[in-house]
């Protein structure tokens, strides 16, 4: 989902995630109308550049959502996600660089197996962005999750299956 500053990308993502309730229309995921579901019941995770739990260690962070949902992902899968997303570091998340924190947050979202992951410009600070998005998309597809990510650059549409362009709060499907 590409669009300039103020085009409404974040507003739309927050409405999808259930954090903006006074909006018109419907949010339907896989045939289920979740419009009246509270944000904690929608199974939609919103990741922003400042999303993380600074007090946790990397491994505890990555497993946070899965533990909450009582999921038991295999060790191989978790190691695969960590390796694929370039998480080859340890330590307390709050002490990591911004890019490292974003990787950890995105991995946490992935391993908690939601239906939808909304990435609000959280791919922007990554040095291997294109490769990262490709790997992330593959993991998400394997896990049955859709990923919607926002960007200011329409060219980023090449990295996704579909491209919506936001303008004045209106999303237009370009591809």
């Amino acid at each position: 989902m590409a669009g300039k500053n103020g085009s409404g990308k974040t507003t739309l993502l927050r409405a999808l995630a259930g954090f903006l309730r006074n909006v018109e229309g419907y949010v339907v995921i896989g045939g289920t109308n979740v419009t009246n579901y509270s944000a904690d019941k929608r199974d939609i995770i919103l990741v922003t550049p400042s999303t993380c739990f600074p007090h946790l260690k990397v491994d505890s962070h990555i497993m946070w959502g899965a533990n909450l949902k009582k999921l038991r992902p295999s060790k191989e899968y978790v190691m695969g996600v960590k390796s694929g997303l370039g998480i080859e570091f340890e330590g307390t998340v709050g002490n990591l660089s911004r890019g490292m924190r974003q990787r950890v947050a995105l991995a946490t979202a992935l391993i908690s197996s939601p239906r939808v992951i909304l990435v609000d410009e959280a791919f922007l600070g990554l040095h291997d962005r294109e490769a990262f998005i490709s790997v992330y998309g593959t993991f998400a597809k394997e896990g049955g999750a859709d990923v919607i990510f926002s960007s200011q650059d329409e060219a980023d549409g090449q990295l996704s299956d579909h491209l919506y362009v936001m303008n004045n709060g209106l999303a237009t499907l370009k591809r």
């Binding site: 995630a17 259930g18 954090f19 944000a39 904690d40 019941k41 929608r42 199974d43 939609i44 995770i45 919103l46 990741v47 922003t48 400042s50 999303t51 993380c52 739990f53 600074p54 007090h55 946070w64 959502g65 909450l68 949902k69 709050g94 947050a105 946490t108 979202a109 908690s112 939601p114």
Partner: protein, 260 residues
Amino acid sequence: MNWLRLISIASLLLLLVPVFVLLYYGLGPFRDAVGYSAEVFRSIELTLFSSALAVVADFILFTPLAYYLARGNDRVAETLVDIPISVPHPIIGVALLILDSPVSPTGKILLSLGINFYNTILGLVTALVIMSAPIYVKSMLPYFESKDTSPEEFATGMGASRLRILFSVVLPNSSDGIASASLVSMSRALSEFGSISIIAFYVLQYPFYGVSPASVTIYEFFSGNMSGGLNAAVTASAVMILVAIPITLAGHFVRRRTRR
């Protein structure tokens, strides 16, 4: 000339006049050994102990309320929080007395459960909790409001409840705000007189048997009920100020660090 600065300094000095007066006379011309006797230090000890307990209770009981107010839009609850400190403080002492009186139904129940407020540490701490909790909540409220909500929203998306988010996500990253609010509310508890002079004029429990809170002891010196009179009251007040100032300053410095 910066008139605003000049007026501000003058107002500040006006506020601090009582403190300067007490420190000057208490440690100088009016100094009386009774004012810093073992009895006074026992009073201060009781005050520090009960205030610290009150702050622990504030943290446990009122942090969820502060968070709820910060993330919700409940203006009525926010206003109600201020009521205990906006009424004359002795009223709270009287209320606790009635609540736990053998003649009231609630008192009968509480006393049958062994809960006695009158001249006990429990009564003293309860009064201090009621008087300091509004300050604690009002300190935590802007702190929570100023925090980035994206980690909370992230946790919400993973299905976490509000309470779970408070304890697992917000509080582990709020030690500076909690420390600041605790110190500020402890300062408030240390200075309480009105309510505790009714419910716990002195404590009849180990290890503070027969000890009054510091503010009550100072009043007792002043009113002539304890030997020492005005000089002892002024000296004990100066000592109490010296004890309270570091706590107030610590709260201030932590708050400033939190705002950065």
